[in-house]
C-alpha cells in the first residue's frame, strides 16, 4: 500500500472559511505541489449567479456555524480519503456579502488518477451542499430572502 499521508504534509490548512476572495490559480499551484505521485487534479469553483430561487439576484449573504462548519467539511475530506485515493484536498468557502459573479466555494482534490480526483471532488461538493451548516440569502433589488434547500441537492448527496 502506498503511504497516502506522506504527500499530505501541507502548510495550508485543508479547510478555510473566510470573507476574503481566493486565488484559484494559487490554490491549484499548491495542489500541484503534492509530490510526483499526483497524476490528476480536479477542482470546482462555485460563483454567485443572477438567478436562484428568484430572478434578478444581485448578490448573496452567507452565514455559517463557526466551528461546526470546519469540522463537517474536515470529516467529508476524511470520508473521501477512505473511498478514493486523495493525496491532498482543499476546500474554501466564503461567507458574508458576496456580489454577483463572486467566487463562493472552491474544492480541489489531487490524486494519482482522474477517476478518484473527479469522484472525490464531486462527493465533497455534493455532501457539503447537503450537510455543511451554511445558509444563503439572495439579495435582489426587490428585497432579500433565504434560499430554500433543494430536494435534488439532498438526493445527489444521498446517491454517494
Amino acid at each position: 500500500m502506498p503511504q497516502k499521508s506522506s504527500a499530505c504534509s501541507q502548510a495550508v490548512p485543508s479547510v478555510s472559511i473566510q470573507n476574503a476572495d481566493f486565488d484559484a490559480a494559487l490554490e491549484y499551484a499548491q495542489l500541484r505541489d503534492s509530490g510526483a505521485g499526483t497524476g490528476a487534479i480536479a477542482t470546482f469553483t462555485g460563483l454567485v449567479r443572477d438567478s436562484g430561487d428568484r430572478q434578478g439576484v444581485i448578490g448573496l449573504f452567507l452565514e455559517h456555524y463557526p466551528g461546526m462548519t470546519e469540522q463537517v467539511i474536515s470529516d467529508l475530506i476524511a470520508r473521501a480519503g477512505q473511498r478514493w485515493d486523495v493525496r491532498k484536498a482543499r476546500v474554501i468557502h466564503r461567507i458574508g456579502h458576496l456580489p454577483l459573479q463572486s467566487q463562493i466555494v472552491f474544492v480541489g482534490v489531487c490524486s494519482a488518477h482522474r477517476g478518484d480526483a473527479f469522484a472525490a471532488c464531486e462527493f465533497i461538493m455534493d455532501a457539503l451542499k447537503a450537510s455543511a451548516p451554511f445558509w444563503k440569502k439572495e439579495l435582489t433589488n426587490a428585497g432579500e430572502h433565504w434560499v430554500e434547500q433543494k430536494a435534488s441537492d439532498v438526493v445527489r448527496s444521498e446517491d454517494w
Partner: protein
C-alpha cells in the same frame, strides 16, 4: 446548587424570525432535543414554528443530531433551517 443549564443557538432564518441567536435554557434530566424544541415552541408567536416542524435541523455540540437525541447540562444545542451552502 445552581440550576443545570444548556445553551441554545439559532441560525439564518430562525435567528432572524426569533430575533435571537443565543439563549440559556434549563437542562432537566432525561431531556431530548425534541423536548427542548417543544419547550421553546410553547413560548408562542414565532417560536411556535419549532413545534413538530420538519424543517428544523438539530446539532448538539456542533454535530448533527436527531429529535430523540438526549441533551445534557452544558451542551451547546443548535436549531437551524436546512442548509444551503455551496
Amino acid at each position: 446548587m445552581p440550576e443545570q443549564t444548556l445553551s441554545v443557538r439559532f441560525f439564518a432564518r430562525l435567528r432572524e424570525e426569533l430575533s435571537t441567536d443565543h439563549l440559556i435554557m434549563p437542562a432537566p434530566a432525561g431531556q431530548t432535543a425534541a423536548d427542548l424544541l417543544a419547550a421553546l415552541a410553547s413560548r408562542g408567536g414565532p417560536w411556535a414554528q419549532l413545534n413538530a416542524s420538519q424543517a428544523v435541523m438539530i446539532a448538539i455540540n456542533q454535530a448533527m443530531a436527531k429529535p430523540q437525541s438526549p441533551v445534557e447540562p452544558g451542551d451547546e444545542v443548535a436549531f437551524f433551517p436546512p442548509v444551503t451552502g455551496g
